[in-house]
Symmetry: C2
Subunit: 254 residues, 2 copies
């Protein structure tokens, strides 16, 4: 008897940004695994069961969910944003590969969502309007030297850069170090966006220049977007500036 | 008298992937500008007006929408996927910057959506589970040499690569050339995904190896995802393989 496992992307945080497909998957599942703040967003019915776990326990959470699905239960794993971007979909795949054969027979469905960088970008203009990359700044699961190499390559090749997991209590210096490296490759005037809780009531979206960007103003829920040399800041009377990267690129980056 | 302009992301194509926020913005607007296949997805009421335009007319479409909004009309511009990713949000910002001062006073709202690469990734596993980039392969608005430089930098630095606008009648050779370049930097076994119409009834998602990937099988609506050296293919009994990129990276790419 094999159940189902659905990995659900709940979007950036506002109920208005949860897709009908995700809402329907929440109604259909019986037991829910996830980081507590994501589970807290769900409006569950009687008989639907929550299994909350801590932020850094992705693999044990995935294993627990798979084991329960293998018993024939309809299980959901919930992620904020999109589950495929630095989130639970990869952790579930890792656990399937390392786990017992029968986990490969579980019916696995992944429901995409609006990931943080898209929600933040939409609130400020179109900073991701041209070639861009997404980098997790966490060196828990990869060497810091690799992160530095990727920041260096991306900024030199003219990609806009979205940083996920920019900072945490256990990783206090990495974002400052990233800005330091990027200042060597990009103009000090390059727009940098700190976006937090986009679309929610506690939203905070701020624009700085790379020269003045202060890592201390970010926290673990911030998505940081760093422009390319083509990214433009457009001032407007009576409303916040727009930050956007044009669709065209006339000059090659270095 | 200044109206409003809302740039709406309709997601990959299925109504179940349109956010409530986007659906509500569609109900609120009076006149709609967009590429015809996107307008065709809308279920409009009496009195709501469509202005269809062709695929490559982004700037004139943005200008027409802004001019109408400046007259006090509630206008919407619709995009498939997310409007901030190689789509109308940047075109609208470009038109505002180049246009008359009063366009800067228009109330501009951008509604994010599920962009193609997220929808395709969700159908196949978690290929974007680690650092990745998105590149438009169209050389209509940037030199081909710049695209090659970015493909080279991204593949050497270990990014998964999502290609938008991979091929069209006017641009028949670029995707083949991109594969050729990438074969020089990545193992022939690297998984390559061709994803078309994810989540729709005519969905077609196929996995190839980089060594055998045939550009002729893509069309302009295909999103192509090329793995990194870390991307894994996980075979399963009775269902399609999973393609995923683990959250960890133990080895540095070259």
């Amino acid at each position: 008897m094999t159940g189902r496992l659905t990995v659900i992307g709940l979007g950036p945080g506002s109920a208005s940004q949860v897709t009908p497909e995700a809402a329907s998957a929440v109604r259909a599942a019986r037991e829910f695994y996830g980081y507590k703040p994501y589970l807290d967003r769900l409006d569950l019915a009687d008989g639907q069961i929550r299994h909350a776990s801590d932020n850094r326990e992705e693999i044990s959470r995935a294993e627990a969910a798979l084991a329960r699905a293998a018993e024939g239960i309809d299980v959901a794993v919930v992620s904020g944003g999109d589950p495929g971007v630095f989130a639970m979909a990869a952790a579930v795949c890792e656990a399937i590969e390392a786990g017992p054969d029968k986990w490969r027979e579980i019916e696995l469905t992944i429901i995409p969502g609006v990931t943080a960088m898209l929600a933040v970008a939409a609130r400020i203009g179109a900073p991701l309007g041209h070639d861009f990359c997404a980098i997790s700044l966490s060196d828990n699961l990869k060497p810091w030297e690799l992160i530095e190499r990727r920041l260096d390559a991306a900024s030199k090749a003219g990609f806009v850069i979205a940083l996920y997991n920019p900072i945490s209590k256990a990783r206090p210096w990495q974002l400052g170090k990233a800005f330091e490296l990027l200042r060597g490759n990009l103009p000090a005037s390059t727009p940098v966006i700190f976006g937090r809780a986009a679309g929610r009531t506690d939203e905070r979206i701020e624009i700085f220049s790379l020269g003045e960007a202060d890592a201390g103003k970010a926290d673990m829920a911030t998505c940081v977007i760093i422009g390319s040399p083509e990214t433009r800041l457009l001032r407007r009377k009576g409303s916040q500036p727009l930050v956007y990267t044009p669709r065209y690129a006339t000059e090659a980056s270095r």
